[in-house]
Structure formats: C-alpha cells, structure tokens
C-alpha cells in the first residue's frame, strides 16, 4: 500500500511541477472560452451582406415598399432596377450588385411567388440565401397586406398574435432550460476532453515506462498492478487538481465581481451570468457529480488506455490503431450527448446515461436539467453503481493485459492475443 502511495506521489508531482501543466491550466479555460465565443463571433461575421437588384415586371414592387423593407431589415440591400433585364445582366457586376431577381410579368398577388431565380456569378451558401429569402418574403407579405387592404393597426394586431411557449415546472420554479442546455454542453464537452487528454496521458506514460525499460526495474520492487494503479490514480489526481483550480477561479472571479460593484461592464456581465447559472441550476450537485463522473469515467477509460500502452512498442502508429476502438467509445458518447440534451428524459438519454461507457458524458449533460426532476435518484444511483462496477472490471481486465504487455517486446500484439493474455490463468 505504501508503495502505491510512492508511485502516486511521483506520478502526481512530476506532472504538476511541469511547466506544461501550469500553462495548460491557465490556457485551457481561455482557449475553451475563445472556442465558444470565437465560433459565435465568426458565425456573426461571416454573414454576407448582399446588394440585390429587383427587376419588377409585375408592377407590385414599388420603390417605397422596398425602401421601407430596407429600413426594417438592414441585412442585404434591395434596390428596384428600371433598366431592362438584358442590359442590367451585362452591367450589374460593375455597378456593385451581387445579383438580381426578376419578378415575372404574370404574377398575381393571390397566387404564391414560389420560385424566383437569384441570378448571380457566385455560389452562395444558405448563410447568405436564407436571410435574403426572409427579406423577400417580408416584402411579398407587404405587397399582399396592401392588396388585402390591411392597414397599420390591423398589421400590429396580426403581429401580436404569435404564441411563445414557456415551461412552468411546478416542482422547480427556477429551472431554466436554456441555462441547463448550456451547462449540459459545457459539462459534456469538458468531460470528453478530460477523458481523452488524460486517458492518452496514461497511455503514453505506460508506453514510456515500457520503452525506456524502467518497467522491469520497478516491477522487481512492486507488483505490475501497483505500478499501473499508481499511475492511473496519480494522473487522475492531476486532472482533479486542474478541475478544482478552475472551479476556484470561477468562485474568485464571482466574488471579486460581486463586491466590486456593478460599474465594471464586462465584469458585471460575467457575474450576472454566473449568478443566473447559480440560481437556475443546483451548482453543488453539478460540481460534485462532475467530480464523481470525471474520476470514475477516467478510471474506466484510463485503465483500458494503460492496457493499450503496455501492449505497444515505440511506434506511435501502433498506439493509434490499438487505441482506436476506445477513442471511438468516447466519441460515440459525445455523439449521444446532443440528442440527450435536446430531450433529457427520452429513453435513449436515460439508458445511455446509465450504461457505463457513455454514462460519464451523457449523464453530465443531463444533470444540469435537475436532480431529481429530470434525472430521478434511481437513475443517478444505478448509473454511478454501474460505472463503479464498470471501472472495477476494466481495471481488472487491463491489469491482466498490462502485466504481460509491459515486459513483452517485439511485434505488436493483436486484440486476439491481448484477450488471451487477459483470460489465461
């Protein structure tokens, strides 16, 4: 027992003392936020603002109507073109237009205007065409309204007739599906990254011990199982440390912001967001469940990664091909997360959050929706119990491959051979 502690200590200290750990701990949240906000920003920026000419042969589209629409919807500029189609076709590019639309002569306001062509020299994605289509529909509605004799007051009445649905959860009045969705995504992705990154750290650590031949020196002092377990626990503690540092940072930022008053704009926003999250989601449940699923999921996957690490030699390509099935399980879990968040009580969400291999990610995506409302206690309990049983099995299984693999050099073993190592006496 004492020896496992020594191994854990070494694994932990050598990693935590490394500069990459400190940089990673600081940089990761920054990059993570940059990824979230960056993609939003890029999506916002990548909207195209088109200038489109309208050649109206039907006479429905007046200059006044188009100008009004341009004011209400500023994206994409529409302009009524008086030049004939044949002439405009040759010169729209040089006039600064991206394209033009021809409204046919026999158009009737009572009929639809199904399919118009957007004549252009480029290919535009839906990012550009959908807003344009929306704007044209808005314009067409105006035409119809005018023809139907609907005036401004009637239009206002029509605009007010939209129904918006809000969920009123009798058991949990603070529940906010929006915040839960965001937290669910953040938890799921964070879990995914931790499992993948720290799992492969275990794998590389084991391979390093094997290829540098220190393993034989160490296993003459301790059992292979102790060496493997020490490494897994040590690296697990590193992951936990990193997570706790992040949580601590959030609390510090929150408290500084809270007491420094409301004048600081960005700070107040952050505090406001965190406060909203705190009130809408039971944060203690989420954090403590996250720690449990992070550690248990990590033990589940990293012992398998350790077994792979013990089987491979110096060649990193072997590592890739052998660890592929395990990495696939993690990727599959993240694919299951999206349907689970959009409908956290569906049977697929329930069962994949109970089955051990996918439960760390899927359950973490569901928990922000509320325990015990969305996730009943029995599901949480069963999921945790099965995950503990699961990691005990994978650790046992991995240890049997590990003790043979760690001293075996030469050609890469096949999965079949590794199974033989695991199940022989």
């Amino acid at each position: 027992m004492n020896k496992i502690l020594l191994i854990i200590k070494r694994e932990y200290l050598t990693r935590v003392r490394k500069r990459t750990f400190i940089i990673g701990t600081i940089l990761f949240p920054v990059l993570y936020l940059a990824l979230i906000f960056g993609t939003g920003y890029i999506a916002e920026k990548s909207k195209e603002d088109l200038k489109v000419g309208i050649i109206d042969k039907s006479g429905y589209f007046t200059e006044e109507l188009i100008a009004k629409t341009n004011v209400t919807d500023t994206l994409n500029k529409l302009a009524l073109i008086k030049t004939p189609e044949e002439v405009f076709k040759t010169m729209y590019d040089s006039l600064g237009y991206n394209g033009f639309i021809v409204i046919p002569q026999n158009t009737s306001w009572k009929e639809g205007l199904d399919s118009l062509s957007f004549n252009t020299n480029h290919t535009y994605g839906i990012g550009a065409t959908v807003p344009l289509e929306r704007k044209l529909n808005r314009l067409w509605s105006e035409v119809k309204n005018d023809s139907l004799g609907i005036d401004a007051t009637k239009k206002q009445i029509l605009a007010k007739s939209n129904i918006s649905l809000k969920i009123n959860n009798a058991k949990n009045r603070d529940a906010d599906a929006g915040a839960a969705t965001v937290i669910g995504y953040v938890c799921g992705f964070l879990m995914y990254l931790i499992l993948l990154l720290y799992g492969s750290q275990v794998m590389m650590g084991v391979t390093e011990e094997k290829t540098s031949r220190i393993a034989e020196v160490v296993v003459s002092s301790v059992k292979p199982f102790q060496l493997m377990l020490g490494k897994i626990i040590g690296i697990g503690m590193v992951a936990l440390t990193q997570f706790l540092i992040w949580i601590a940072c959030i609390f510090i930022i929150y408290n500084i912001g809270k007491y420094s008053g409301k004048e600081a704009g960005a700070m107040a926003d952050t505090v406001g967001t965190i406060q909203k999250v705190f009130t809408s989601v039971h944060i203690i449940t989420v954090v403590s469940c996250f720690i449990f699923y992070m550690l248990a999921g990590f033990f589940f996957y990293s012992s398998l990664y350790a077994a792979i690490g013990s089987a491979i030699n110096e060649d990193m390509r072997e590592a890739q091909s052998l660890s592929f099935p395990i990495t696939m399980l993690i990727i599959f879990s993240i694919a299951l997360m999206t349907p689970a968040i959009s409908n956290p009580s569906s049977p697929i969400a329930v069962w994949t959050s109970i089955i051990p291999f996918s439960s760390p990610i899927v359950m973490m995506a569901r928990i922000p929706f509320g325990v015990p409302n969305t996730v009943p206690w029995w599901q949480l309990g069963l999921s945790m119990a099965l995950l503990i049983a699961g990691f005990m099995f994978t650790t046992w299984f991995a240890a049997r491959i590990y003790r043979t693999g760690i001293l075996m050099y030469g050609k890469k073993p096949s999965w079949k051979e590794m199974m033989k190592w695991a199940f022989r006496k």
């Binding site: 020896k3 020594l6 191994i7 070494r10 050598t14 011990e209 540098s212 031949r213 220190i214 393993a215 034989e216 020196v217 160490v218 296993v219 003459s220 002092s221 301790v222 059992k223 001293l407 033989k420």
Partner: protein, 310 residues
C-alpha cells in the same frame, strides 16, 4: 548456508518451454555465474527469482523461507540486461524514488545515496537528468541503484556490456567488495572470460534445462581431456611412446594427450630418457568458452518455436 534454492522450477509460454525443471542452489556470499546462449531461459529464470513472473511449478526458497515477492523485494537487487531509468527525472530524485520503492525510509535512502554517489564520484549528478548522461555513466548509475538498498542477493544481467575497461574494473571491484561483505551475486552472461575470472560457481542452461552445475575448477576438471603442453629445447623428429600421442606441434611446444592408464610422469620420463631438456610442462585445462561451445554446439543455435501442451 544457501541464500537461494530453486527447486524444479518451470515456466512454459505459449510456444516455448522457457524454463523446464531447473533446480539450483546458491551459497551465501558466493559469486554465481548463470550462463547460457541467447534464449536459453536465463532471463525468465531471473524474472521468477525476482518475483516478476510467477513460476508455473516449483519452489523458490530465499534465505531459508518460501519466496514472497511482495515482502522480499528489499532483499533483492536486480539490474536487467536492458537498462532503464526515467529519462526526464532528476538523478537524485530517481535514486531516492527507486530506493524507497524497495522499502527504505526517506532518511535511510538519502544517506545511502550520498554515500554511494561519493564513492563513485557522482555527487555533481544529483540535479542532472538521465538523458544528460553518457551510456557508461548511465550504467554506473544503474549499478548504484541496483545495490543501493544493500540487498542480500544481487542479480546482474550482463553488467559489463557497454562499459570501458576503467569503469568495468570499478564495478568488478565493487562486486568483489559486496561479496566479501556477505552479499551474494548472481551474474548472468554469455561472456565466458569474465565468468572464469569472477565466478566461484556456475550453472549452464540451454533450452530451458540445466546442463552443467559446479565450481569453475570442478567443471574444468570434469571436462579436461588429459591434454598437456610440453616445451622442449629441441623437438625430436619422431616421437614414439605408448603413454601419449601428439595432438599438435607448435614451434617449441608439443600438445600431447595422455592415454588411459598413464600419468604425466610417463611423458616426462619419455623425454628425460631421450636426454631432451624440458623447458616447461603444464596441464591444458579447457576454457569455459570451449566447454560452453562443446555443450551447446549441435543444438540448434536459435530456439525453435514449438507447441506446448500444459
């Protein structure tokens, strides 16, 4: 008293009988040579003695008690043939870590490391990393780490490979010193000249079986072919004697084989009677190398794969 007794030890792998019924005894304080060609089963045997492998059958008795790998690790120091240390770890910390894994307390380990580093003039290495060391320096460090916890049984697999003569001698002297202080050294190699020089007792294994066991002198006596080298002032043109036959003639020296029932004095008498001056006369014992080759020869040089049903 024997520090280690191995009784009918067996370890079968899927395609090989790596160790097939080997028994041996190693007296305390001796330097013991474990010899054999590549793939004979030496490493497997050692791995069972160090507790890395469990034997399929047989007993290992260490210090008079059944070997318990978990608690007896501190009595054994093992230097594998393939050396290995953590490349990125500081040398001092690494020595401390490995010593503590053997069960030494922190203070105890620290004192011993300081002592050994001083003896081997390695004090300036403490904060260096293994990747900064040359191969020979790495070997020295590995040796120190192996013997640091003062094990009763030291197992060295090819300890001199890659060492220059100066460092070789340094380690050789340490081996003698450790043996004098009561440690037992098992020395696994296929370099026979070193064995002849260092070892008291040897065991030769081939294809998983023990084929020879005894002290170096005993073994040589057992394999002698009654060959003698005799240097004469002048070698006569014809030698005719019932007592011996000439095997080979060098410039001044005859190699003769004494026939059954005759003694060395009969050879000497033959030349004395002819009034030929004898310059020197010595028994030609076979070298371990010759014995080794004779015993191992004829068996396929590489072990063949076979199916084991067990």
């Amino acid at each position: 008293m024997n520090i280690l007794e191995v009784q009918n030890l067996k370890k079968y792998f899927a395609t090989q009988k790596a160790v097939d019924d080997i028994s041996l005894e190693i007296p305390k304080g001796s330097i013991f040579g474990l010899l054999g060609p590549n793939g004979a089963g030496k490493t497997t045997l050692i791995r069972m003695i160090t507790g890395i492998f469990y034997p399929d059958a047989g007993e290992i008795i260490l210090k008079g008690k059944k070997f318990d790998p978990e608690n007896d690790a501190k009595y054994i120091g093992y230097m594998p043939e393939e050396r290995g240390l953590y490349k990125k770890m500081k040398i001092g910390e690494q020595a401390l870590y490995l010593a503590r894994l053997k069960g030494l307390s922190r203070n105890d380990a620290m004192a011993k490391i300081k002592d050994w580093f001083k003896r081997f003039e390695m004090e300036s290495w403490w904060n260096k990393k293994v990747e900064d060391l040359s191969k020979g320096m790495g070997q020295k460090l590995q040796f120190v780490i192996t013997v640091l916890h003062e094990p009763d049984l030291i197992i060295l697999d090819e300890p001199f490979s890659g060492l220059d003569p100066v460092n070789s001698n340094l380690i050789k002297d340490e081996i003698y010193r450790l043996a004098k202080n009561g440690a037992t050294v098992i020395f696994s190699t296929h370099r026979m000249e070193q064995v002849e020089e260092i070892c008291d007792k040897i065991v030769l294994v081939n294809k998983g079986k023990k084929i020879l066991d005894g002290s170096v002198q005993e073994v040589k006596q057992n394999f002698k072919e009654n060959l003698f080298g005799i240097q004469l002032e002048k070698i006569p043109d014809t030698i005719n004697s019932n007592a011996f036959e000439t095997i080979k003639t060098n410039k001044q020296e005859l190699i003769v084989k004494i026939k059954e029932g005759y003694k060395p004095n009969d050879v000497l008498g033959h030349f004395i009677n002819q009034d030929i001056n004898i310059v020197s006369f010595k028994e030609m014992l076979p070298s371990l190398n010759e014995i080794f080759i004779r015993l191992v020869e004829g068996t396929p040089s590489a072990r063949q794969f076979q199916n084991i049903e067990a």
